[in-house]
Each structure stands twice: as C-alpha cells, then as structure tokens.
Symmetry: C2
Subunit: 404 residues, 2 copies
C-alpha cells in the first residue's frame, strides 16, 4: 500500500513539476514530458483539478483532430506553502503558490509579553484573512514552516500569573499541533534565524550555492550555518550559536547571560557596543546615537567599531576555516554601525583563513521577510525530505482532518 | 522516458530493500511488502536474477496449492559497493554485499613517492583478485567511493622527472575516470579524512546520530565534520580543516606550512609535540619516545600534553559552540600520547561550550578500515543522492562500458 501510494505521489509531483516549468500544456504535452501514459496523466490531472491545484487555462484545436485539446496550468491562487516568522514583537505570515511566487503576505505586531497561544491566534487570523479575500485558497496547501525565536521567552497563556516558562521544544510541538490541526498539513518548526539564513542562501542574488555563515549582531548575537543547501541544526538545536564563542579570556572579560564570561555577545551585541562606547567616555544610549558618533568620526566610536569588527572577523575566521563557506552574511544593527563594517570584518577574516581562500562578507539582501521566505524554502528545495525529522512526520495529520 | 525509467528503478530498489530487510521471501510476500502487483515483482526479480543480484534460496509448498513457491534472497556474494582508502603509504580496498556486510578486504603498501597511476593499478589488482577467488562477482556493483589524501602529494606518473604536481581536483577526476571505466559504475571521490569521519558516524557503537566533529592529530592535523548524517565538504573542499585555526597570536607563534603562523597544527601535530618537548629540554625524536616520557611522568612531557590538550579543547570548543555536535572523536598518534588525553580535552572543552551542554570526547572506534567503511557509507545511507555533486554524475559511464 505504502509503496503504491508513493508512486502515485511521484506521478503527481512530476505532473506538477512540468506544469511549474512549462506553464500551459495539453495532456499530450504533459504525457510526453513526464514520460508516463496519457491515461496516467489524465488520472493525476483529475485529482489535481478536484483539489483546485490545476485549472483549464485555454483550449487549442490540433490539426486533423476534431475536438480541441484543453490547455492546463497551475491555479495561480492555490496556496501551496506557508511561511511564518515569529519574532519577539511581531509575526509575519507569507504564502506562495506552486510556482514559488509570494501571493500574500502580512505582518502584525504584538507585545513581547503576549503568550504563544495569543501569538498563534494572530498568525492564524492573518492566514485565514488571506483566504477570505477570495484571492487564494488553501485546498492545495502542502506544508507550513514556522520560525520561532529561541530560547523560549514567552508563556503559552500569558494570563496565567507566575506559571513557569515551557521548554522551547514543547512550545514548538504545541505550535506544530495547532497549525497542523487548523490547516491539515505537515508543519515544520525551526529556529527563525536558521530560516533567515536559509532565506539568504536561496535568494536569487546569493553568490553562495547553499554554503554560508550567517551572523546577526542585534540585541543578542545569533547565527546560523547553511552547508550543502541544508541548515545545520546541531544535536541540541544549537547549531550556529556563534554569539557564545569565548573571545575575551582576560580579567576584564564581561559577564554573559549564558553564565560564562567573555562571549562574543558581550562585545558585539547592541548592549556590548553601547557599554564599550561609554567605557571610552562616549555617552550614547542607543545604537543610532552610536552610529551617528561613528559618522562624526568620534575617536571612541571608531575604536569600538574597529574592535568589534576585529573580534567578529576572528570568530567568523575560525568558523570559516572549519566550515569553508562560500560567503558570510551579516545582519542586525551592529553590522550597520558603520558603512565599512563588512569591509573591516573581511579584513580581519582574511588573516584567519587559508591564504589561498577568499570569503566575501556582505550585508543581508533580505529584510523582514527573510525568515518567512527561508521557512518556505525549507519546505521546497533546501531541505531535502530525507532531512525532515520525526517532528515533521508526526505533525502530518490524518486525511479526515484535512477537510478535503 | 526519463521519468519512466526512474519509476522502474524505484520498484527495483523497493524489491531490493525488502529482500535486504526480510531475508528470504516468496514473490507473493515481496509483492505484499512492496505494495506492487505480482507481475511487476516478477519482472523486477527477473532482471535482478539476470544480474546475479538475487538467487533462489529455497522453495516452499503452500497449503492448497500445487506448485511450490520459490523463496528468493539476495546473492550474498554479489559485490554491491566498493570503498577504497588511499593513504600516503598504502591503499585499502573493501567490498560489501547488498546486506551491507563486508565480503572482502585487503591492503597493500606502496612507497610515498609512487605515482597515482601505480597506486590505482595496485588498488584495481586487489579488487580484481577478489573476483578471481570466485567468492564474489561485480555484476551487480552499484558504485565505488574513493578516499584520497589532500592536498595532492604525488605525481600521476612518478617516472616523469621534475613534472609539476597535478592539482588535487584533477587527480580526483582522473581516479574517478579510471575506476569508472574499469568497473562501469559511478565513482565518488572525496577526502579520506571525511570518509573516516563518516565511518565513525555510521559505526554501530557511535553515540552520535550523524553529528560529530572528527580531529586527527598525526603528522598533520586534519579534521572533518558530519552534520545531519552528511559530511561538510565546504565551498573549496576544505570543510573540517581545523588544523589551520590560528591558536597562537603571540610573538613566539611558530611558522606553519600553510604560510601563516600559530596554526593548531604547529602545536598539536607529531612534529609540534616533539618540538615543544625539545624546547623544554626533553630530547625526544619520535612520538613513541614522547609517549614513554609521559608514562614516566616526565615534567616536560606532562606540560606538553597539558598544553596540547588545552589548545585542542579550545579549538574544538569554538567549533562545538558553532556546530553543536553530539560527540567529538579524536584519532592519530598525538591523541594517544597519554591515557587521559581525551579527558583533558573534554575538560578544556567544557569551559568553551554552553553550560547546559555536555559533549563527549572519545577516541575513534575504527582503525585502518575507517576510511573505506566511510566511503561505502557515503554510497548508501549517509550521502543522500541529492547531495552527490556533478563529479559523481559525470563519472557515471554509459551502459556499454558496464560490460553487462
């Protein structure tokens, strides 16, 4: 049973793929391109039309034949993949069709202390509103990928006073279950920085083909690694946590929120930069003020930029020797502290990697949508199905919940 | 055409898989387990029997039926995968059947200055001798994976005086072509340390499920990373080159053969250890003599072990923060310099990684066969076909060369 179903799925995928590549095709053309019989194609198309994935776009009269042949194409309003990016203060929902085009996107803010239940309800409302507009439908949805910030920083139900925080994995599982039940498809949850890195790696302008180091220098310092097109998740879901590489072993090393001292984050985060400025007598309290001091060529501000770029370059250099990425992508407020920040990091990096190797450093191409776009990418090309773990399979629900 | 062939291949693979899992089965049993019709199963089995992959092991009489049903099984002497590990001074060839069991292995030494042409000829002779013994045949060979040391250290033809060394990639391509033509199957070439790491990651006693850091402390210091079951190759085939992480930024940093100063290799290789011993007044010229001095509790020798373990632990700690492996595996003479070397490295490592995480450090389970076993693993479970790069596809030759 299982193997037969898998073959039918293969035919279905092959038909979808030629429609995706070929645009508008007759049954005969599809049959020729897929290399299966006309009757198999008709059977597959019948199923896809019932699901609303494929529509009759036109009809053409063939020479020497009586009846015009129907021309089929993908339904451009059939939502195929949903990517959701939960940040600490907002959620962004994005939907693509089978051609990979974004057909809907929306963003809504929430308070950082709002619970996960309420955050999910907001995201579901956004997604449902798309369908209400008649511009798209979910009858052919294939999967949802959701990026979560980690470690967990919110309760599930914020109205419960003094409840303990749920473990991150448990929040992920509940989010999976909630969206899986609501939309009747498999749900894939991962760290939102990992998805943002994947968004960069699959961006059309990326120079890397799936090998990059991604570092976000913001309120915290977080990172992600994509290698061979796949994000590195790690044994404890901590892959890419470069913010906690120890860079200062001196007596002046600063305490880190991880419980140790001298981590990269204590120097290269927004807070670290402001503390360094103030230690050098520059009284700035926002990263914008620090950036302004850099633009004004304030000596202390320049010294801080210099130090931060050097230490970031060293950590990325060590990581680059070990991982051999095609490029390094920086994002976050600190990466934009000076116009030459990436150039400074690249210079420090060059001293660390093998002399024969040059690894470009650039700012991220994508803005707010990086995480949601990467989430969708995780459902299509970048994550091979074999890489999908048990959580994904577990969250694939039975057909009766699918509402088809 | 292409898609149809791919479906036939799928059926074939499914039948092989149930025979692999199920041992001895009738056609009806295979049909039920694969979930395809009895006639499809018969067709697939007919092809597999022609290739010598499947044999009739027995026949059983079913209640109420006239003719006894044939029981089929995989031919245990059909070689399915070949793994070859070229080191600087010897080659090891290993062959497994479809059940994953090693059915032949042999090793032969050569001189380090012997050219690649001669080395390959030795390996081919070993492999052909297996088939001459009548214990196995190559009619069902699926692929060959070959580990090469890098960077290239030998000529192709050592009789050519003063010829320039061929680039590593070119040697790899020629090796691919030679074995591909001889055996008529796809050939996959990679760095032999990467294969050795994969051998450890797929070892039955491995605690990691495909997430490990592997470091070899020998004449050089080389390493490899396996993440999510896949080796990290990197953009320039340099993934895992931890030996060239800079660890000494002081004025006393030693020159490294990479052209820079203070790399891990200058301290943690055999030569680095011996140099450190001699700098502390301990006149040792072999790693065995250094190990003996450690056993004798010689102060200088203990100090060197201590320093090397600390610096190795720091580099692995940084790598572990970024990669989050399940375990760290050490190999090479320096890793065996003292009985407590891994414990010392683990202690240094603990100061680098997040307090909530413990990453075990152990010596390699596998000895000389690690590279060849990992090479075979790369052909089966660990490398997903999607991960196979162009080189692999290019080396898959046309059927007429296959000799079937």
């Amino acid at each position: 049973m299982k193997a037969e179903r898998s073959l039918a799925d293969q035919h279905r995928q092959a038909v979808l793929d030629v429609l995706h590549d070929g645009g508008r095709l007759t049954r005969n053309q599809i049959s020729q391109r897929v290399g299966v019989t006309r009757s198999t194609v008709s059977e597959v198309l019948s199923g896809l039309r019932d699901e609303g994935a494929v529509v009759i776009a036109d009809s053409v009269r063939m020479p020497g034949r009586g009846r015009p042949a129907e021309v089929l194409s993908l339904d451009p309003s059939a939502a195929r993949y949903m990517g959701i990016d939960f940040a600490h203060n907002r959620v962004l929902v994005l939907v693509t069709n089978a051609s990979g085009h974004v057909i809907a996107t929306d963003c809504r803010a929430y308070l950082p202390d709002q619970g996960w239940g309420a955050r999910c309800a907001i995201a579901i409302t956004l997604a449902e509103d798309f369908a209400r507009s008649d511009l798209l439908h979910y009858r052919f949805l294939q999967g949802i990928a959701i990026g979560l910030p980690g470690p967990n920083s919110a309760l599930w139900d914020s109205s419960v006073v003094a409840a303990p925080l749920e473990p991150y994995q448990q929040v992920g599982a509940r989010v999976c279950e909630l969206f899986g039940k609501r939309f009747g498809v498999g749900v894939w949850v991962d760290h939102h920085i990992r998805f943002a890195a994947l968004g960069e790696a699959t961006h059309p302008n990326a120079s890397a083909e799936g090998n990059l180091l991604y570092l976000r220098l913001s309120l915290g310092v977080g990172g992600a690694i994509v290698t061979g097109g796949l994000p590195v998740r790690g044994e404890h879901q901590l892959g890419g946590e470069a913010g906690h590489v120890i860079v200062d072993r001196s007596d002046r090393a600063r305490d880190c929120r991880c419980g140790r001292r001298g981590c990269l984050e204590t120097l290269a985060s927004v807070g670290g930069v402001l503390q360094s400025c103030r230690e050098l007598g520059l009284g700035v309290y926002t990263i914008d003020a620090a950036a302004e001091a850099v633009r004004d060529n304030h000596t202390a501000a320049l010294e801080v930029v210099n130090d931060v770029a050097r230490v970031v370059g060293q950590v990325l250099g060590t990581a680059a020797v070990i991982l051999d990425p095609a490029e390094i992508v920086l994002t976050g407020e600190v990466a934009r502290l000076s116009v030459d920040f990436t150039a400074r990091v690249a210079k420090a990096l060059a001293g660390e990697v093998l002399p024969s190797v040059t690894i470009p450093v650039r700012l991220a191409h994508l803005g707010d949508e990086a995480g949601a776009l990467g989430a969708v990418a995780s459902l299509t090309t970048a994550f091979h199905p074999a890489q999908r773990t048990k959580e994904f399979a577990m969250s694939s629900l039975s057909p009766e919940l699918h509402g088809r």
